[in-house]
Symmetry: C2
Subunit: 357 residues, 2 copies
């Protein structure tokens, strides 16, 4: 197996947590006798400094040559947001990657690790049945890539954004969500705003059609406003959620709060050929960068996801996930997941422990 | 004071909780020596049965003649959703009212009553500084009333919805939110998706301009995805939130979960002349209708809001709010807010207690 991985550490805590993931990858290489070709490339503010672009041609080239992309995080501190380096940094980096490789769906688990239920923001009475959700978010339609306009009409400033969907786009993510549900609790909740939007009516119709091909999976439709509320009052009801780009953006960030820290959950974006990018759900957290305190778990879990989905290395992925679980069970905590901050371990200590298991 | 109130009980628990609010109104009339003219009218499924429309002309007429509207709730059970009576019921009732009277903003408090903090879904550690938010939602712009299209293109079904804002619409709610903040903790958080949407960029620009006229109020901008997450991890940071129609729909339903029951919070929708409609944040809850178990507090609080904002009867409103607080402090609980359901009081008992205080 001589697979190529494009590694894009990015900004903030990106480089340091990526370093941890690479250590884990090296360990997997030894243990399972693999060799991966790793090609680093710049993205975000780090790329802007070198190339004057958040997603330069050289980075695109590295990604094109790769079998999978491991992404860190991008973006700078609010105090520096006036600098050209940070202006539209997330948007330019992330939306360019999605567009370039036509990543049409984003998959994000959101769960409460039983070991960490004390740091879940929800009361024990709400989470007593556990939270274990996979959110499938459409990535190329909706209001993201439709026409954006700013103009003057009757002497007033006006703006508009066009929200669009076609049935193909919806079918793709619908199939993906039903397939994922087959390997889980066989329930798909499709979230839309079909009482107001035509795109949501089409969404609901197409998801229902696709659902007929998966007779063993229960399909439920839910309005986005209700779903946001259900996240607080009964999150255990969800298995797989499939939703539009904008609602997915909002709901998956809300769900990122369930585990108790943004430093815990990976995510993956796929195109129709199965090519994928893997990244932590959290952001670049510039306030804690370079302090050796960031939680490396989301980045290491992203690597595990990459091995499983892009390289079909299930055993290797499982090995990493088990090591993380054991590390958490043994009580190791970075400060973001530690109730008694005094006892927190560093980024590197956390990784060492994962490597040890 | 001979003010006219249009009373629209609607469906589900609407009529029974409205009955409680009317009792409270009668009590206020006696106590403060007022007389209000109450005109009942049908809306929702109840109206459809009589007039074949969810918002019939006769109801419109009653509302036009009134000084304020007290609304219950509309909509039927899921099991009956195929019936014409319930099809698009919420949308037809609510959006018609908004459009007819040009209600441009919706104001919704979302707080944790200290007496009820045990039923807030968030952990004590998260809510230790309290939650007390007012959400100001724009109601006539965004993707709600823009062009909705469903069509075929290249043999594919397609749909689109147009999201639109002009500066006037934004100014109106911005002013309102800053004025509200002046009477509170002087902080406004404006929520948008300015990293993707042109309408959000305009939103941010106009809110910032309006903000300059309120130098004692702190203005903060936040992306909607982050805001949804902050609701879980640090809801105490918010004072007044001002946001677009669609984001407001999602965020205000999410925030409706904070108090621990949908039966607790009122809301008000205003037009530019100050004419307003008052309604509970929750829905028609058909599953618990006619059982004398629904919580009447949201409806009674809606009445208090009406007296304060539409009739400037501050003392009368305060009197109702105090009575509710005392009732909660004395331990009276309907089943939705009662941890030990056995001890729950009925809808009527709850009202009697409020009347007693
Ligand atoms: C940076 C931004 C354009 C992006 C999005 O809205 O999709 C981000 O919030 C995300 O969820 O990946
Ligand atoms: C019924 C529906 C059209 C409405 C909306 O989306 O505005 C409702 O959800 C609300 O929040 O009042």
């Amino acid at each position: 197996m001589n697979k190529k991985i494009a590694v894009l550490p990015g900004d903030g805590i990106g480089p340091e947590v990526m370093e941890q993931a690479i250590q884990v990858l090296r360990c997997i290489e030894k243990k399972f006798n693999h060799q991966f070709e790793i090609n680093f490339a710049h993205v975000g503010g780090a790329a802007y400094e070198k190339f004057g672009s958040h997603f330069p041609e050289s980075t695109k080239f590295v990604c094109q040559k790769a079998d999978a992309i491991l992404f860190g995080s991008v973006g700078g501190p609010i105090s520096e947001s006036h600098l050209a380096k940070w202006k539209d940094c997330e948007k330019n980096s992330i939306l360019s990657l999605r567009k370039e490789f036509q990543f049409s769906s984003n998959i994000r688990p959101a769960k409460v690790y039983p070991e960490l239920k004390d740091i879940c923001p929800l009361k024990d009475s709400i989470i007593k049945n556990g939270i274990d959700i996979v959110i499938v978010r459409e990535l190329l339609g909706d209001v993201y890539f439709g026409e954006h306009r700013t103009f003057i009409e009757n002497q007033l400033r006006k703006a508009s954004d066009l929200c669009e969907y076609n049935e193909k786009q919806i079918e793709t993510v619908a199939h993906q969500s039903f397939k994922i549900a087959l390997g889980r609790n066989r329930k798909v909740t499709s979230v839309d705003k079909a009482n107001v939007l035509d795109t949501s009516k089409l969404w609901r119709e197409v998801v229902a059609e696709v659902g007929k091909q998966y007779p063993t999976v229960t399909l439920e439709h839910m309005l986005v406003d209700n779903c946001a509320m259900q996240f607080f009052i009964n999150p255990s009801q969800f298995d797989v959620i499939v939703t539009t780009n904008l609602f997915g953006d909002i709901l998956s960030d809300a769900a990122a709060a369930f585990p108790g820290s943004l430093g815990l959950m990976p995510s993956a974006s796929f195109n129709e050929n199965g090519f994928a990018l893997y990244e932590p759900s959290g952001g670049s957290a510039p306030d804690i960068a370079s302090k050796n305190i960031a939680n490396p778990i989301a980045q290491i879990m992203s690597l595990a996801m990459l091995l499983r989905h892009s390289f079909e290395l299930v055993e290797e992925a499982q090995c990493i996930e088990n090591a993380i679980q054991k590390t958490l069970q043994a009580g190791y905590r970075t400060s973001d997941i530690c109730i008694d901050k005094e006892k927190a371990v560093t980024t590197e200590q956390m990784t060492q422990q994962i490597l040890y298991f």
